[in-house]
Amino acid sequence: MSFADWKIKTGGAQTPAHGDSRLVLSITRMTIHNGPGMRTLILFKGCPLHCIWCSTPESQKTKPELGVYPMKCIRCGDCIPVCPTKAISLPDGKLTVNRSLCNVCGKCVDVCNAKALEIMGHRMTITQLVTEVKKDEIVYKYSHGGVTISGGEPLFDTEFALNLLKAFKAEGINTGVDTCGEVPWKGLEPTLLYVDFFLWDIKHMDPEQHKKLTGVSNKLILSNAKAVAARNVPLYIRIPLIPGYNDSEENIRATCEFSRGLASVVQVDIMPLHHLGKARYDSLDRMYPIAGLALYSDEAILGIKHIVESYGLKCVIQA
């Protein structure tokens, strides 16, 4: 069963958790910005960090969440009687869910034909994921692509990640892991045999600032990066650029200095701020912390690129 079919079939109801499964947020085929070639991108739910600029807020929590899209609602009212906690109402015809009452049981999703309500996070097994990824095998073959697991934090459940990566490798699929790096070394180390490359986020070089922006210190992230580099697993360093937060020349230079020290670094991707994730905050009734923050000019980005390149690093703007 494909992911699309899966969502149609199961609606809001969840299959019970078992050892070889994890909550999947989305599967996107034919992406081109997540490592070499064309790749299928899997987003998992659950992340140890909570970056203030996160563009996929629905990936942060480990539990399923209810996404609400009033624009799609046709105001049929079918969801109201099925809700066991009476969390849903339609004041002035606008679909509203009282989050403090909702227990994310998914009953409303099952009856909503318009898909104005959606459960974010569907439990999928390793077998299901491999089947889905294999659909584009021919595209990987010609483009030298594969699968990239992301999130959330794809290594959040390291045991699951290890088994999943093993399963991909058994099928001969190239594997990329888009990680925040905040993973215990004990769990990270065994996966290295099955990872073709990492997309490794470095959000700030200063531990204090890092904690302020993401909720955790960067100590483990940096030490892990060094250890991974020592094992010669290719690293794509990714710097999300957030104006005024982490884009000082000093911090950029510190990041480059650090990256240059990693023997297996392939390139540095700089990822300028965008506000496209705002709609997702809306659907979760959450506040978007950096609304209205000014975006970069072309020149400013090129300036940063030149700094990176002055360290002898290949730099790609992922805009």
Binding site: M30, N34, I138, D298, I317
Partner: protein, 830 residues
Amino acid sequence: MAIVFDKKDTQNVGSWQDLFVPSYNERIKNLRENAIRTPEICLERLRVEMKVYEQYKDEPRIIQRARFLEAFLKEKTIHIWDNELIIGGINSKVRGSTIIPGDYSWLESELDDPVRDPQIRPFDRHIIHPEERKELREVIFPYFKGKTLADYNLARVDDDLKEHAFAGTSSCPHIPSLADWQMGGDIGHQMANYEKVLHKGLKGIKAEVEYYLAQVDQPYDHYSIKEKKDFYKAVLISVDAAIAYAKRYADLAREMAAKETKPKRKKELEHIAEVCTQVPANPARNWHEALQSVWMLHVVISCEMASLVHCFGRFDQYMYPFYKKSVIDEKTMNHDQALELLECFWIKCNGAMLRSYEFVKVLTGMGLGLVLTMGGQTRDGKDACNDVTMLCLETDEQLGVLLPETAFRMWEGTPDKYLRKATELVRLGYGKPKFIMDKKGVQMVAKGYPELTIEDWREYSLLGCTETNLPHITMGNLYESNSVAAKILELVINNGKCAICGKQIGPLTGDPRTFESIDGVRQAFREQVFYWMTYNAKGSKTLKEAQSAWYPAPFSSSLSEGPLQRGIDVTQGGAWFTTYGAFIAGLADTADSLGVIDRLIFREKKLTWDELTKALKANWQGYDNLRQLCINGVPKYGNDIDAADEWAAFVLDTWADSLDWINTQKELLPPWGGRWVGAIITGSNTVAFGHNVGSLPNGHIYPSPLADTMSPVQGMDKSGSTAVIKSASKLPMHRLALGGPLNLRLSPQFIATERDIENVMSFLRAIENEGIYHVQFNIISSEELKKAMKEPEKYRDLMVRVASFTAYFVDLTEEQQLDIIHRTEHQGCC
């Protein structure tokens, strides 16, 4: 190379076209204006037709036709326009639409209309001068009243066929299969043997005709002597007329050269005179002569046949020896000069065609069906790309003009060099070239020509927008029939009644409430298809017979294989092969609707037939919730879900079955036989067909457009392009034999950097391997995004990407959408 992309670093590109700096010279720059200026109409052909048929009224029709061509080529106004190196025009205008004899009642009503007049209407404008308006009104309209092919046809078609085969005459204009397009003109598709003329000259062809004519006089030839003699005589008249026509140009060039004061142009004109003296009468000796010969032949064919589609076949294959001779071996010119000449040739192809307001309202910007095929494999299965392939791609890149349409055949052995160039061309967003994939293509041709060998199949080229064809051995009557699969399904649901006008038009295939399983629906669908396709074949047969009597084409016959040997005109079954094309539209809507019936009515029992029919009768008004269930609750074609894709395959398999069956029924084919082949083509007729089909179980609301060709229903492909490819690869295209394009949408950001080019190249290779026959790319424009803001319903699948962030455009807030539009429109980062 002339590509100058100065902002390679940013992906915020609206259109790569704006960043491309062409390197063509002043001459080409000026000539290019000729290709894009507002066309004028030309009435010369009508004047000659009105006179000649009268003058030769006692001659057999085929002689009349040859005499017409002779007189037309002799009398038509000829020009050599400033700067031109390749010369010769189908009509008397710089850029013109030849008005051909036919039913012009539409023009009669549109002429001088304050909105619809061709000169005023907002799209596809044509200039019609006051004296031409007068002539149309006073002479031409009255003359052709009751004297067109359509009138002749109508007189021969019986009432049963009028009712069931032609929407134009049926009491129900919404019938599912129509043979109407052939009613008023010969819209056959034919591809001349240009190569033969390049090597033998028209004089060589003449010698061949004389040889065959001499055979007819032998005492042992007893059959059809008179018909054969008339045919050969007509061919000789036509070929002589073509030779004389080229001579007129040679004389004109010489005359102009004598008067020319600028020494450079004087020399050019003298050279043109020399070229036109040599070709097409004699073999071409170099690149310039080869190009001129092909163009002049094309002009003469277009003057003879009224048909829309004359294609150039495997241009790079037959032109290469001449390029090699001039540029590589004898070095009489360099690459740039060869390119300039090809650019001149390209520009000449951009004629126009005047169509009615109603037609162009739906289908704007359509030129003549002029396709040039390149690349692919040689007969023995090696790669066929050569320097001319590259030259064609360069010309397309430089000029960015509509015609000729270019088809790039690719196979596993296509070198990266050519594929890269073709992909770079995609980036410019002209929708060129079309990618034609040999893996599936050869399988399809094998179905169309089972008698031949794999070596022959590898020779295929495009005839019309997508149709496979073996050049110059086939008379392809490809524009023969149009069927709307969705209408068939509507008839199944209503037991043969038209949902729009309420008439019982189709057979009684059973009240669906009595169906015990989905098999009842399948069976009814099959019965309806066979019923309508039978009528369609009968209707088409009648028209073909009329056309062969009315519009024999002796000149075109001389450039095909078969007619000369057999002594039979190409329109009368003379070519080695004759094919008839059945176009199928509305595939995805039908498949998705069948899926809804299967899943919601029979499997999950969430829906009853009564509820469904009530909702459909109400055109879904008041059934919003149910409609959402039908849209969202059932997997749809285009997402790589077998359960949905199998329905699309079922629809096409049923059609293929019906065509296979018709091919075995002699009485359904014209006396000379031939073979029906299928294609999934809709063009922009999706809009027109949308008016013929009632609301559908997949949530389709009357009268919105149907999904085009093989594409999923708009907004229903939610799993990305690779899923669309996989879904389409499950269709039995090899059984249909003719083809069908798959349109893919790319955002400019997807094909921005060098790495993206590599990715799209590998994507194309993957598509070939998956077994898709034809793909073409549209680069999304900011206008399209603006439309998506207004009509989110139709653009639910529109994906935008910024770095690894992917979102459906319509799911973004207005503010974000404007941001994306801004990124697409302006080259600066936001």
